[in-house]
Amino acid sequence: MLDKPQLKSMLDTPVAQRMPREIAPGVFWIGDCLAQRHKGKSYHGYNAAYLVAGTEASILVETGHPKDFPVIERHMNELFARGVAPLKYLFVTHQETPHCGGLGRILKNFPDALLVGDVSDYHLAFPQYEHRMRSMNEGDEIELGGRSLMAVEPVIRDLRTTWWGFDTKERVLFPGDGFAYSHYHEDGHCGLIAEEAVSLDLPDVSSTFADLALFWTKFADMNVYCDRLDHLIARLDVKIIGPTHGLPITDVKTTVPKVQAGLKAAALMPESGTNEKVAAS
């Protein structure tokens, strides 16, 4: 079951107003786009969050970009008002602030919620919530009622303290920095899943993202990482992928090879560095 957006007037409606989008039963894509300027163009990426709802509890995967907290909170409250199970857990894939910048406000505004995952650094940033932080190891599961979220191998990562998440019911993989690519706002890609964004040039947008945020992928042999990714997807029998920065993937067999081709192509392009100076708009 995929919650279809209205394609008409896509450009006229900010993506934050079109979310939440249910990408699998009980798995809601929330958040907003982040526009970044690069090589004279404006690229849109996501710093998405996902709410995974069981019968007893919900878990938020990622907190979204610091700028997006009001949107994330609004989206969650809309879902809770619709009867989604209360938020009891927060899982963030790693410690970079576009993934976890809303952590302090989530724990403040949802006082029953626990932070789970690799909890490194958070006690240094938000010491007032240290008593609500729980460390997970690979294979550990958080029971939500009828489904669980499992910590799984983070194949594509930057910080060593990364875990990926996996929803055991709908077999949704949450790969953090994996499957990271921007999208074309002008083509109406905001809020679309990958299979709907037919004009997306994956080598171009993958390379752009690598320049901005994944420097190491320009230096490592990405073939071995793609092979390992295939192995993980097969082992977990992944049906849907909910990346933090890319568009959600609902046809794993067709789309993952395209994303991998983009990643490999991006690795062959010389890195061109991070944000150049631009005039304030």
């Binding site: 610091p66 970079e96 240094l124 609500r132 460390s135 958080i142 060593r160 190491w216 490592a220």
Partner: protein, 305 residues
């Protein structure tokens, strides 16, 4: 639920003898604001097996009429760092901030608080749209404070003039990095601010010492540097084409007369011989990683080398 219920080793809750300090690197010019944290397996910038202590370093560059703060430290230290800055600059003195990495708490965690407390003239970043990247909800009015804060974008190769005397600080894209990172070079004190590089010296106790000088018997070795790099955020270097990275770092050390390396974490490396030795160790490590002599392979998350 099968997750661990132990959230913190006991010793991290015990009072520590040293709560942080100000180290003068050049009187009336440059100060290090050093605040310790325990290495207990819960710090992403250090190997999981590292034990002991490190410091997170913020730096304050002072002029008679202006000051600049490089990195703002962790939230846990906000009151201490605020006090350290207050002890060093006059109330109302124009203060600029330069977080070297936009994605990491140690750089940006306290931008919001300091923007609301000090007379912040501008925040230098690599991204003109960065103001709300610093919005962590530290203050109820934090979003408004950040929206009104002036942000000044700097290029990958730029120069900042601090104060009316025009103290020159060179900005460069970090030649080795995980994410968008800037390095700075202060021509006045001949100090390189290296962000997450050269962070490899830590101590057994919270009291340090936190500066390595030429008078010290510094025991850091090439195997130490290798182990540190491969067990932290630079786990991907083995088998990479590191010649380009080496050239980039070499260009920095060729171009600038560096007497002090001021990293974001761990011991400051001070003195020409200390600087030369640690640069040589890093370069030797990178040379040994190059794809001409090493193979790029899949590295699992918890593999320690």
């Amino acid at each position: 639920m099968s997750i661990s219920t132990q959230y913190a080793p006991e010793r991290t809750h015990k009072p520590q003898a040293f709560a942080g300090g100000i180290a003068s690197l050049a009187d009336d010019r440059l100060y290090a604001l050093q605040n310790p944290f325990a290495l207990d397996g819960r710090v992403s910038s250090y190997p999981a097996s590292a034990r002991g202590f490190a410091v997170v370093n913020s730096y304050l560059l002072t002029q008679p009429d202006a000051a600049m703060l490089i990195d703002t430290g962790f939230g846990k230290d906000e009151p201490v760092i605020r006090g350290q800055i207050e002890a060093l600059i006059a109330p109302g003195l124009p203060l600029s901030m330069f977080p070297l990495r936009l994605n990491e708490f140690m750089s940006i965690n306290n931008v919001e608080s300091f923007a609301g407390h000090f007379n912040v003239e501008t925040c230098y970043t690599s991204n003109i749209d960065a103001a709300l990247w610093f919005d962590f909800g530290a203050k109820a009015e934090g979003r408004d404070i950040l929206k009104s804060m002036k942000v000044t974008a700097v290029t990958r190769a730029d120069t900042i003039a601090l104060g009316k005397e025009g103290r020159l600080i060179d900005v460069m894209q970090a030649p080795i990095r995980l994410i968008a990172t800037r390095w700075l070079y202060d021509r006045t004190t001949r100090t390189l601010f290296s962000s997450d590089m050269f962070t490899h010296v830590w101590r057994d106790t919270a009291t340090g010492p936190w500066i390595v000088t030429e008078a010290d018997n510094d025991s850091t070795s090439l195997p130490d540097v290798r182990s540190f790099m491969l067990n932290t955020r630079y786990w991907w270097l083995e088998g990479a084409p590191t010649d380009t990275i080496r050239r980039g770092i070499g260009n920095v050390f060729d171009k600038y007369d560096i007497e002090c390396i001021a990293p974001g974490y761990g011991c400051i490396l001070r003195g020409r011989n200390v600087v030369a030795r640690h640069y040589a160790m890093l370069d030797e490590f990178l040379k040994a990683c190059d794809k001409s002599v090493a193979v790029s392979r899949y590295v699992t998350r918890d593999e320690e080398r």
